[in-house]
Symmetry: C2
Subunit: 298 residues, 2 copies
């Protein structure tokens, strides 16, 4: 039986790439400290900022919210009711449970009431449903953060997410995307600041955190995510990680340290301007959400 | 049955990532043209340069030699007799056969006679045998090229080789290695120019080329190469290539086009100077081969 390196209590919790055995109590401490270190390293925010955590009901975003509040930050929740039946009901239910236990508000936006349901949009829009959903969520999260007076939006993207995206963008050397792959996207031009405080914690670490803290979360995936696209990438990375623990963290961290700065040189403003219809930021004339509105009424 | 896109002859030769069906004759023409394009694109050499092809007896280096001579370049062969029993005998035999058929000289260096056999060195040197062999080969190829009056050394590294190395260096973001991963290493400081004219042709394309031209080659691997290290990488890349043909070529070409130039900025001279013992170029005081000599006599 492994023992906690701090208090020698027998424990089943072990993090291979950090070679760490920790009891439940010290795991929570370690995890939160790791999130705090990430926040400071990337200067994500200070104690003066009001933070809106974009929660989905999954383990990552709930772990994030719990950790931020435990660390003493002023962090509230935001969830969009996507109207995906049981999935959305369960997602909102577990998020509300965490809100109560943290004593912080959860803002719920009803997409069907305030816009259109994703299913309705899908009937008139040929793009993959995940692409539509992503566009809509990004728009309304940013809009609501501003309306509600939050300076920063935090999302639960974990190391595995970041590594998979990094690998895809690297294999195609998509420099435009690579130069934006950073855990902080600065505010400005109508955007609030967006941050990923879990960018250096793995999916497994987040799972352990919610389990240890007995935080209820939605275990199953969104019914529309088939998740076929990145299976090869994730499998390859997992195999490498199992062979030599730390590969994932190194790939991501060294990118940020050595290559990301090289990609920033000579980059011009992306030409973001207010949408002609709603005034929200867009790179075109009319923003993606207003284009959907036009399709729906057309 | 597929048909050659040039002459409509039925053919079994198909190159998925170029979506090309070609008969034997037009395949040879296409392959040689591709090598020629690569030589020109990277300004590898001109018709005034004398080229030494480092051959191993394998399909890649023999395909290269055959193609260069067929394209009208003054290209001769060089092989090191490593003293690996049947493997070395077969390698030299097939290389000599090609030399005769091309009507070009093959220089053979007997490593056991002129230095030490790899097996002897291995007894006193703890490094992996492939690492020792690589060091020794690089030294003597460069030395002999200069002695024999060749300006350029060409090696048979293919796209699959380059992609595997690129992936390994990318996953660890080894910027020092990445900024040297180019199909031309310039001459200077005691080094002749080194080039890889097959950097954009796959192993399969080289195999097809030697088969179509009925060039005999050593099919089996060096008895000391276990080849375990990069299996996961090669398997992953093959899977991706099969799912979306062209992934390999894109990964490599786009790296050269977009990222390699970024890595060159602010790079200083690598501080190469003559070895204190033999005068050949080295980054230390004494070169790797003279260090081996010292170990052997010590």
């Amino acid at each position: 039986m492994r023992r906690c390196i701090k208090c020698k209590t027998p424990t089943g919790i072990f993090i291979p790439h950090h070679k760490l055995s920790l009891c439940k109590e010290h795991y929570v401490e370690w995890y939160q400290q790791r999130v705090e270190t990430t926040i400071r390293k990337f200067r994500m925010f200070t104690r003066d900022d009001r933070i809106l955590v974009a929660v989905s009901g999954g383990k990552d975003s709930l772990a994030l919210w719990h950790a931020l509040v435990s660390l003493g930050y002023e962090a509230d929740g935001f969830i969009i009711d996507l109207g995906f039946g049981q999935f959305s009901e369960d997602s909102i239910h577990v998020s509300q449970k965490l809100a109560s236990s943290l004593g912080r508000p959860l803002h719920v936006m009803d997409l069907n009431k305030e816009f259109y349901s994703i299913n309705e949009i899908k009937k008139k829009d040929r793009r993959p449903i995940c692409s539509i959903c992503g566009t809509v969520k990004r728009y309304f999260i940013n809009l609501y953060a501003k309306k509600l007076g939050y300076q920063v939006v935090a999302t639960g993207h974990n190391l595995d997410d970041e590594v998979a995206v990094l690998l895809v963008n690297t294999l195609s050397w998509n420099v435009e995307y690579l130069r934006r792959q950073y855990p902080v996207l600065k505010e400005g031009n109508g955007f609030v600041r967006k941050i990923k405080p879990l960018c250096k914690t793995t999916e497994m670490e987040n799972r352990t955190y919610v389990e240890v803290n007995e935080i209820e979360f939605v275990e199953y995936k969104c019914p529309y995510s088939k998740g076929a696209t990145s299976i090869e990438y994730k499998k390859f990375i997992e195999d490498l990680e199992n062979t030599s623990p730390g590969t994932k963290l190194r790939f991501y961290s060294e990118f940020l340290r050595k290559v990301y700065p090289l990609l920033q040189k000579g980059v011009e403003d992306q030409g973001v301007k207010p949408c002609k219809v709603c005034g929200e930021p867009t790179s075109g004339e009319v923003c993606a959400v207003c284009l959907i509105k036009q399709k729906m009424s057309g």
